[in-house]
């Protein structure tokens, strides 16, 4: 009934839609003489990005490289490690799963002011917030993934006389990978939110959250939009990167075959 989408259409339509919005935005701003403090035109935002590239780069290093990425690796490694341990004990797993699921639904970002109080203004407190935010989705998804291999496959491993470690390495961890990547995808988004919010509670004089609050106070809205553009680009790129690695690593999964 439906015609199949070509590769060209899959790229052209979203890009076209994005450009259309930008053009309408640009025309709208000029047509209605919107104050640049309220809503700068896309061209003005582009100019702001070009003229303050050095500042934006410094903010990006502080927030993304130091805050978010450090938090992601700490939080995900801790989540995966705890999942591997808990997975050995059925009792613990039954107890931890609902608790972790509940924590994953909480606004953990509210811990940001407490982390700033504990770890100071620099990137350490941001990484701590991100690590805690990332920890629960990673734990829950890895635990769910570890029970993804079905009984038949486990029985097969047992007929091979494979022990716990061999079954884990050869069957259950590979089977869990799609879930782990789902957790990582959720994490990339959460990480940027956490790193930026934590900067609202105190930061050195660089960082994307710091820049957004100070430039907003000066009504330099084009600079705020420049940071939004960079953060949007970063969020999408991180997500895309995880998706790309997922495609490479879990090429055998039905969702990536043909």
């Amino acid at each position: 009934m439906r015609q199949k989408d070509t590769q060209f259409e899959r790229i052209a339509y979203p890009v076209g839609f994005g450009l259309l919005v930008l053009v309408l935005w640009e025309i709208g701003v000029h047509l209605f003489n919107v104050s640049p403090a309220l809503l700068p035109a896309p061209s003005a935002i582009g100019a702001a990005i070009a003229s303050s590239a050095a500042i934006l780069w410094g903010d990006w290093v502080q927030t993304v490289l130091k805050g978010a990425l450090n938090g992601i690796w700490m939080g995900s490694l801790a989540g995966i490690a705890l999942a591997l341990v808990v997975d050995r004990f059925v009792f613990l797993k039954r107890g931890l799963m609902p608790v972790a699921n509940f924590f994953a639904a909480l606004p953990i970002v509210g811990l940001a002011p407490i982390m700033v109080m504990w770890f100071g203004f620099d990137w350490h407190s941001k990484a701590a917030v991100v690590a805690i935010m990332v920890f629960f989705p990673m734990l829950v998804n890895t635990l769910a993934g570890l029970s993804a291999a079905d009984t038949m496959q486990r029985d097969l491993m047992r007929t091979y006389a494979a022990g716990h470690v061999a079954t884990l390495m050869k069957l259950r961890i590979p089977a869990a990978l799609p879930f782990v990547f789902t957790g990582l995808k959720i994490s990339t988004t959460l990480a940027l939110i956490g790193a930026i919010v934590a900067e609202y509670f105190g930061s050195p004089i660089r960082g994307m959250g710091f820049r957004i609050t100070t430039e907003m106070g000066r009504l330099a809205t084009d600079m705020v939009w420049a940071e939004i553009f960079i953060s949007a680009l970063t969020g999408t790129a991180l997500y895309g990167l995880v998706a790309l690695i997922e495609k490479r690593v879990t090429f055998w999964h039905p969702s990536h075959r043909g």
Binding site: I196, F201, V224
Partner: protein
């Protein structure tokens, strides 16, 4: 059996967490106790140290019973109209959440309908919907505040609800796209033999078929709306709501206020999820679905 299979393990984990918490609190707060003792020139015994770590007014990490008593003081013992009452503040956050949730449902269902009904809509909107969720909403928050102010919104409720909706529309949209396209060829063909137009196919087949998917998305969506409401309060420098209490606690260096607000938020989130889950069950049964 349910007790031994689910309640007992959960209780064990919760008790273990509380014990770890006490341990961590004693360890972290003891630094201050020792500092004070060194300044006074005394050397406190172990029991004195432990006793002191549990009753500091500005502890690094308050012990659980301190948080509970602070919660009790700010909910039961305060008048609900008082600005210091967490019931009052929680109510404001709840209002934001529900507005954002409602807005999120409308946007999510609307986008899903466009995506399912129109090929161009699906090709151009779907990627942007995914991209929208990878953009950190907090960066957009100040812009949403000034734009909605310029558009004539008098209160902070509008931008906060928009932020909550921004996070909560996505689960609804994804589920509804799945649900609206769940009727298979056989069912679509049957409707065509009845001579049903696209409108009838949508209302009589697609919409009823999507209902289980819709209900399934609500719990995720309300949790997202709540996170959005708190994030909104944190990033718009709100003066009311649980997020605002956290801000105030941070600015005045009052950790107890932050912790109480944090726990109030956790309790409220739990209540919301349970309520929506119950509502989902009732509605599903009322519409003839099998109880799960």
């Amino acid at each position: 059996m349910t007790f031994r299979r689910s309640i007992l393990p959960i209780l064990t984990v919760v008790v273990a967490l509380v014990v770890i918490w006490y341990g961590a609190a004693i360890k972290m707060n003891s630094t201050w106790t020792f500092d004070q003792a060194a300044r006074a020139g005394t050397s406190p015994s172990l029991s004195e140290v432990i006793g002191d770590t549990m009753q500091q007014s500005r502890p690094l990490l308050p012990v659980p019973h301190q948080v509970v008593s602070e919660l009790w003081k700010t909910t039961v013992e305060k008048k609900i109209t008082s600005k210091r009452s967490l019931v009052y503040q929680g109510f404001i956050t709840l209002k934001t959440t529900l507005w954002g949730f409602a807005l999120g449902i409308v946007i999510g269902v609307g986008l899903a309908a466009i995506i399912v009904l129109s090929r161009i809509g699906r090709l151009s909107l779907m990627p942007w919907a995914i991209i929208s969720q990878t953009i950190p909403i907090v960066a957009l928050a100040p812009i949403i505040v000034i734009l909605s102010n310029a558009a004539g919104a008098g209160t902070l409720l509008v931008p906060k609800a928009i932020i909550a909706a921004y996070l909560s529309f996505f689960p609804v949209m994804v589920s509804m796209v799945k649900g609206l396209s769940s009727p298979d060829h056989m069912q679509l063909d049957l409707l065509r033999t009845y001579g049903a137009g696209p409108r009838a196919v949508f209302w009589k087949l697609r919409v009823p078929a999507s209902m289980p998917y819709f209900f399934a998305s609500l719990k995720v969506s309300v949790a997202a709306a709540f996170v959005g409401a708190v994030v909104g309060e944190l990033s718009t420098s709100a003066i009311a709501g649980l997020g605002a209490r956290m801000l105030i606690g941070s600015q005045f260096g009052e950790p107890m206020i932050m912790w109480a607000a944090l726990f109030a938020a956790a309790i409220l989130a739990g209540l919301l999820i349970v309520t929506i889950g119950g509502l989902e069950q009732i509605l599903r049964r009322a519409m003839g679905g099998r109880p799960v």
